[in-house]
């Protein structure tokens, strides 16, 4: 663990797929299928998680306390097998830290002229 930062890091570090799941949950609380769709949408279809991979990730994130299952259900007619996941504050911090780390990496890449210029957000 880096000594100077108080930002929590998951250990071992996040995989890109895990990061994508955290990013997907950074917006809304979502159920499994919605997470898959969200990730696919946000990455223009470049990242497609399979169910096996997704639930392996969900299990890790639950264990590490980065996400929790939401108690209340959105609508009465919802499929009751569905469970909704929510980012915990800790999960949000980890995701933010990872984003910051990636931003620094991107900055370096830019300085070395590997990327042309900043894309408008």
């Amino acid at each position: 663990m880096a000594p100077k930062t108080s930002v929590p890091e998951s250990n071992p570090p996040l995989t890109p797929a895990m990061f994508h799941v955290l990013l997907a949950l950074a917006g809304d609380d979502l159920h499994g299928y919605a997470i898959l769709k969200e990730v696919e949408l946000r990455t223009d279809g470049e990242v497609k998680l399979s169910t096996g991979t997704l639930y392996g990730i969900i299990k890790r994130l639950l264990n590490d306390g980065l996400i929790v299952e939401r108690r209340e259900r959105p609508a009465a007619h919802d499929d009751e097998r569905r469970r909704y996941y929510r980012l915990t504050p800790q999960g949000r911090e980890v995701a933010a830290a990872e984003a910051a780390r990636l931003e620094k990496v991107v900055a370096i890449a830019r300085a070395r002229r590997l990327l042309k210029k900043a894309q408008p957000a």
């Binding site: 159920h31 499994g32 299928y33 898959l36 497609k48 998680l49 399979s50 169910t51 096996g52 991979t53 997704l54 639930y55 392996g56 969900i58 299990k59 499929d79 097998r81 569905r82 469970r83």
Partner: protein, 880 residues
């Protein structure tokens, strides 16, 4: 849901089965739901192709996720198990030691069984090699050797064999090193080693020219002799030594391989042996000095080869009726070489393997019981975990992980123990088979040990886990450590105790019977006094001692010199002495006046040639008549002594002294002058054979032994005796020098070691079982503290409490003994061939073992019973 959807869901569920059950329990329904949604979308957007693509991606995902999830579960379980093991260090160490001993015993014995009985012979096409013996009739038990003309007939006329090679063993004197050396020599066909597929380590093999008459004499050295006498120096190739008055050139060194039937120092082709190449030997069908080995043609069975060769034997009898007795029905016995090499080892090794297996069973039952006992204390923990949502499968897995870890650690300890004891074990096995050198821990042994570990973890882990399942609900209801033993578990624990006692009983019986056999063997009166006798074996150099006069002069001089040594009270020479492992050679003879009635088989007896002092040196009594004297010289009438069993068999109601017998069909007659005591010549467990003794002066021997009775330790005069030998003939080496007592000890060394090993196993079993009973009773007492308190509060006296606990424990032990007795009656018959002088159901042994077990059980129950009697009723009741 439509039909295709249902089918797809079912298929997906099958795929999910790859994942750990717990994972499936947590996420399965949800994943199913996601998959259904994905499938709908895929069908909508991509049609059939989309669905195929989805299946492909999904399967890939689950196949990669499954091992990861299993591994992570295993890691968690192991970490938890290790924590639990550290917490219960006493239990952990006890279990590892018990399992380590059990697994170690099995690994060690199995490594022997594997090397000796399972592995193919280390010869090329070992499965096609046979050992051939002639037998005269189907009823005659022992096969005999073969003569040169017979071998040539077998070679020419058989249809089932690739090759027949000959072998015999001689002691020759090798000159040209610092001292003359007596070497064990194997005399073989030129292609002997080709048949065995042994390629020389150095130099070359024998070639066909080497066996031609008059070819320059050549030698192959055995690997062991080369190491021992030449320090493994390759320069030995091409060296020339004198042997049998001829130069012999070393042409090669053999690889290390099991030599059978003797461990020879050197090998020579048959033409170089002065006896084998004599015209008498080549022409005479009755000079049977050769052992034959053969290699079958591929695909031939040994029974087919046997039938084939027996046809040849029958044809020989027809062609040469004078060489075969009328009553004979010659045949050939073809034993597969592997069976021949392992015949002596097999029953003992299997017996020991079974014993080791029983030790392991006891160890497993014991650890399973310890586990069950621990489970009582862990009820709370497991109950809480169940309540918190841990599935049954998960807890089952946890328990099995713990027992597997224990078994693995036990297995590691067992491997260490086995490896440590292996050289002792292979020295022991060498007494049974020449394959002992092949004993080591190889991949097969490791796999076996792994299998044992698996077996152990299932046996020790599943029982408690299963018992737990039954008990889950009661535990939570009863709420913890004070709960009484669950019904199922209590019964299981009792059954395990009963099993331990029963199996211990079996092992103790096995050990008891072998120990009694050993005692009986040691008590056998050998017919001679083995104490304080020195024996020196050697073969006189026949190329120099060519006449009886020269041989007799040598002996007269040597015996006189040794007799005058201080400490020597008597000295004798003989062709053989008891227990020297010389083979039995029966000779037929005629009894004067009985030649006519030849309906029965002809009388036969073994022969030995002795000097008069033989009787006093060995302490053999003379029952009637007289001993040999100096006057029985070469020219005087031929005389003989016979032993008692010969006298009883052929002169039942008469005095044999003064009767005459003939060894040459009545051409010359030999008078019986005395009857002496029977001697166990071929082993304490072998009854005394019929023996006829002839005087040394009338039949001088080149290959005899010198025996000296001494006042003190016979080995103390060994050096002086050898010095006297060199004084008489500086070129005459001594062979084996050993006390007769040592021969006697060696002759029962194998049964002694077997008894020791079994005794060790049985003691181990007894200790484990006793500890098991003690542990179970201690637990029962601690669980019944409350009940005991109540009983004492209402007036039960301590003695009654003690009796109650003892009777509970002893009840289990006695049921175990009863089952053990029944099993022992059924099983010990299998080991009959290993016993001597004791029946497999020997009542004394059974009673003694039952008493020992009962005593051990009583002692084991006593401590917990006393603790029960000291229960303070007030405190016991308050604790509730």
């Amino acid at each position: 849901m439509t039909e295709p959807e249902r089918r797809a869901t079912n298929r997906f569920r099958m795929l999910l089965r790859l994942l750990p059950a717990e994972f499936r329990g947590d996420f399965g329904p949800e994943m199913e739901q996601v998959f259904v949604a994905q499938r709908e979308e895929a069908a909508r957007e991509g049609g059939k192709m989309g669905i195929w693509r989805l299946w492909w991606e999904t399967a890939k995902g689950i196949f990669t996720a499954a091992p990861r999830e299993h591994l992570s579960m295993l890691r968690q379980d192991s970490a938890f198990a290790l924590r639990m093991m550290r917490k219960n260090l006493g239990f952990t160490i006890a279990a590892i030691i018990v399992l380590g001993l059990g697994i170690g015993a099995n690994t060690a014995i199995f490594s022997v069984v594997n090397a000796v009985l399972l592995k193919p012979l280390p010869y090329e096409h070992g499965e096609r090699l046979l050992m051939l013996r002639e037998r005269l009739s189907r009823s005659a038990p022992a096969g005999r050797n073969v003569s040169v003309p017979e071998m040539l007939d077998y070679r020419r006329q058989n249809r089932s064999l690739d090759a027949i090679v000959e072998y015999h063993n001689m002691q020759f004197i090798l000159l040209g090193r610092a001292e003359p050396e007596q070497v064990e020599t194997g005399v073989v066909s030129w292609n002997f080693f080709d048949v065995f597929g042994a390629k020389p380590l150095l130099g070359r093999n024998f070639a066909p020219e080497d066996e031609k008459e008059g070819a320059p004499a050549v030698l192959l050295l055995s690997y062991e002799y080369w190491l021992r006498s030449f320090g493994g120096d390759p320069i030995v190739i091409g060296k020339v030594f004198r042997m049998n008055d001829k130069p012999h050139t070393v042409i090669g060194v053999l690889p290390p391989f099991p030599q059978y039937p003797h461990e020879n120092d050197v090998y020579m082709p048959s033409s170089a042996c002065p006896f084998r190449s004599g015209t008498h030997m080549i022409a005479n069908r009755q000079m049977r000095m050769l052992r034959l080995f053969a290699r079958m043609k591929p695909g031939t069975r040994s029974t087919e080869a046997e039938a084939d060769l027996s046809t040849v034997a029958a044809a020989m009898q027809k062609e040469f009726p004078n060489d075969y007795p009328d009553d004979a029905q010659p045949g050939v016995e073809a034993t597969p070489l592997k069976a021949e090499l392992t015949r002596d080892a097999k029953p003992t090794m299997l017996f020991l393997l079974a014993a080791a297996g029983f030790v392991l069973l006891i160890a497993c039952a014991n650890v399973a019981n310890l586990n069950l006992a621990r489970m009582v204390r862990r009820e709370r923990e497991l109950g809480v975990r169940t309540a918190m949502g841990a599935s049954r499968v998960r807890l089952f897995r946890q328990l099995v992980t713990e027992s597997s870890l224990l078994a693995l650690l036990g297995g590691a300890l067992g491997l260490l123990l086995a490896n440590g004891g292996l050289h002792l074990l292979s020295a022991y096995v060498a007494r049974f088979t020449p394959r002992a050198r092949e004993v080591h821990i190889d991949l097969v042994v490791l796999l076996f040990t792994l299998g044992v570990v698996l077996f152990v973890s299932v046996l020790t882990g599943t029982a408690p886990a299963v018992a737990r399942r039954e008990n889950l609900i009661t535990t939570l209801k009863e709420g913890g450590s004070q709960s009484t033993l669950g019904f199922v578990r209590g019964r299981l624990r009792s059954a395990l105790i009963v099993a331990q006692v029963a199996v211990s009983f079996l092992l103790l019986i096995g050990a008891g019977l072998t120990v009694r056999s050993l005692i009986n063997l040691q008590r056998v009166d050998p017919g001679f006094r083995p104490d304080n006798v020195l024996t020196v074996q050697f073969s006189l150099d026949f190329s120099r001692y060519t006449t009886n006069e020269k041989t007799l002069a040598f002996w007269e001089s040597l015996l006189q010199k040794v007799q005058s040594l201080p400490g020597v009270t008597a000295v004798a020479a003989a062709g053989d002495f008891p227990l020297d492992k010389s083979p039995a050679f029966s000779n037929q003879f005629l009894i004067e006046g009985h030649q006519g009635d030849s309906t029965d088989a002809k009388p036969t007896a073994e022969l030995n040639v002795i000097t008069p002092e033989y009787l006093s040196v060995l302490g053999i009594p003379l029952f009637s008549g007289r001993n040999f004297i100096q006057h029985d010289h070469p020219e005087s009438p031929k005389v003989a002594l016979i032993n008692q069993s010969t006298a009883q068999r052929y002169w039942r109601n008469e005095d044999p002294v003064g009767r005459r017998i003939s060894f040459d069909n009545g051409k010359t007659w030999t008078q019986i002058i005395g009857v002496i005591g029977d001697v166990h010549e071929h082993g304490l467990d072998v009854p005394a054979n019929d023996f006829i003794y002839l005087p040394f002066t009338q039949y001088p021997q080149n290959g005899p032994a010198l025996m000296a009775r001494t006042q003190g330790d016979p080995m103390a005069v060994a050096r002086a005796v050898v010095q006297r030998l060199y004084e008489v003939d500086p070129n005459q080496p001594a062979g084996r020098i050993q006390s007769l007592e040592q021969y006697r000890a060696d002759s029962i060394a194998a049964p002694r070691l077997t008894a020791n090993l079994l005794g060790l196993f049985a003691l181990l079993a007894l200790a484990i079982a006793a500890a098991g009973i003690g542990g179970v009773m201690a637990l029962a007492v601690s669980q019944r503290t409350h009940e005991i308190g109540v009983r004492m509060a209402i007036g039960a006296r301590p003695a009654e409490i003690v009796r109650m606990i003892l009777s509970q424990g002893m009840g289990l032990a006695l049921v175990g003994v009863a089952i053990g007795v029944a099993a022992a009656f059924a099983l010990t018959r299998a080991v009959k061939s290993l016993l001597f002088g004791v029946t497999p159901s020997d009542p004394a042994t059974f009673l003694a073992v039952a008493a020992v077990l009962a005593a051990a059980a009583l002692a084991a129950c006593y401590l917990p019973a006393r603790r029960a009697a000291k229960v303070d009723p007030l405190r016991a009741l308050r604790a509730e």
